[in-house]
């Protein structure tokens, strides 16, 4: 199958001559569900920025299956990258995900608004849609950003630690939702918690300057160390039941 996005020997970083990522090879195909793990500062978020075209690459090749990647990727940024006090309404945040398919004037049609309302309903945010994001709880806010990322039905969905601030109950729901979405789109999910995401992902990419691809959703401490990808595999006492029941 053809790749939607492929990285070939890609190096990237924020300073010239100072690569944060080195010789990255990765193919993202339809219906992939890749869990991206690795130590803090290992370059997971940077990898996502490269894929999104936000950070120019220093070396290698980055190819998309489409001419202009703007409308095809949905993105949920790491929570520390967003100013949660910004005066913007929840419904506006979700609608902003449609911007890519709009003209510069950003006028939304009735059907756009209906789509947003349906999504808000599904995400349990209907009663908060006229609130600003600062008035939401951390978990509700992440749902709003998930709405923004998926409203345009992207081909690839990229999520940077979406479970931050999310309560355990919604985390389970989130993973159910992602499993469902995975039927229609490839998903890249960054998490520091491999134990929890293991049941829903299909493959694993360990990122620590380099990327090691692991063609299974289970990984042992030993393999991780050969990948030079030291993360702790803590035992998980309270994985959400729904996730476990599904598999």
């Amino acid at each position: 199958m053809d790749s939607l996005i492929s990285l070939h020997n890609v190096s990237a970083g924020y300073e010239p001559n100072q690569a944060v990522l080195r010789n990255i090879n990765l193919d993202i195909k339809q219906n992939d569900f890749i869990g991206i793990i690795g130590p803090n500062g290992g370059g997971k978020s940077t990898l996502l920025k490269v894929i999104l075209g936000l950070l120019p690459i220093q070396k290698g090749k980055l190819n998309y299956a489409w001419k202009n990647n703007k409308h095809y990727i949905g993105y949920l940024p790491q929570s520390n990258e967003i100013d949660t006090k910004f005066p913007i309404k929840v419904s506006e945040v979700v609608l902003s995900g449609i911007m890519g398919s709009k003209s510069y004037f950003g006028k939304y049609s009735k059907s756009d608004k209906n789509k947003a309302n349906e999504l808000l309903d599904k995400l349990g945010l209907t009663e908060y849609k006229n609130n600003t994001i600062g008035e939401l709880s951390g978990g509700q806010r992440q749902r709003a950003f998930l709405g923004r990322a998926i409203i345009n039905k992207p081909s690839v969905l990229i999520l940077d630690e979406p479970n931050t601030y999310v309560d355990k109950h919604f985390e389970g729901e989130l993973y159910n939702m992602l499993s469902e979405l995975n039927k229609e789109m490839a998903i890249l999910l960054v998490s520091h918690d491999i134990g929890t995401i293991s049941p829903i992902i299909k493959t694993i990419a360990c990122v620590n300057e380099e990327l090691h691809y692991h063609n299974s959703n289970k990984i042992s401490e030993k393999v991780l160390s050969t990948y030079k990808c030291p993360i702790e595999l803590v035992a998980h006492g309270h994985v959400p039941h729904r996730v476990l029941n599904q598999h």
Binding site: Y14, E15, K49, L52, G53, L54, N68, K70, H71, I73, Y75, P77, E81, I82, D83, F86, P87, I88, K89, E92, V93, S96, G97, M99, G100, Y104, F105, G106, T132, G134, E135, R148
Partner: protein
Amino acid sequence: MLEFFELFQYKFFTNALLAGLLTSILAGIIGTYIVSRRIVFISGGITHASFGGIGIAYFLGLNPFLGAAVFAVFSALGIEWSAQKAKVREDSAIAILWSLGMAIGIIFVFMTPGYTPNLMGFLFGNILTVTTTDIIVTAIFALIIIAANILFFRPILYTAFDENYASTTGLNVKLIKYSMAVAVALAIVLSIRIAGIILVLSLFTIPQAASMLITKDYKKIIFWSILFGFIGIIAGLSASYFMDIPSGATIIFALISIWIMIRAVIFIKDKLNLK
């Protein structure tokens, strides 16, 4: 003679009214962008840097506000550009720009014979220096800003909120940010006559602070800020004229009074609700 005087008074009031209205519109729209994006300090740097342009233009016998505009626009673009290069310690760079502009301005104004009365006007604002030409220029600029912010409301809002995301949806984030940087610079310069270098930024922040007590929605903050700004500016300008105090100071007083009143009303309402 008496008739002439009446006419002058009439003209003063129409000018003041128009200048106040236009300035409050500009400050309402641009100030909401400044406050939401948390670039108040950057805007302070741009404001004070523009004084360098005032000084040089004044010394050369050119229009001081043209000099201010050139300095302000270049500093705004420079700051936006260096922010994109990430690694500059932004706040120290802005502090340098801030004081450098003031130093250049002071040197050149002092080297120009007969500087003193005008220096006060530049620093603290003087309603009597607002000319009909100023009003026409400000009106044209305000129309552009209003049109751009209506037409491109969402691209501007989304870029201010989360520029990375905005960029992934295909918006030309750089163009939007640079255009807004120019708009911020020019809006500030056009308001200097009214409030002066030292106090002008309050026009762009205090109405917003007051508005944010009653709403947290970007569009509504603009609306309320224009209203509060207009009330504050007109009250301040009148006080300035009748008491012969620099208008910058009286306007700030009026604006802060509005903020206090709203705060007090909310406080009382909360107290009543508790019971």
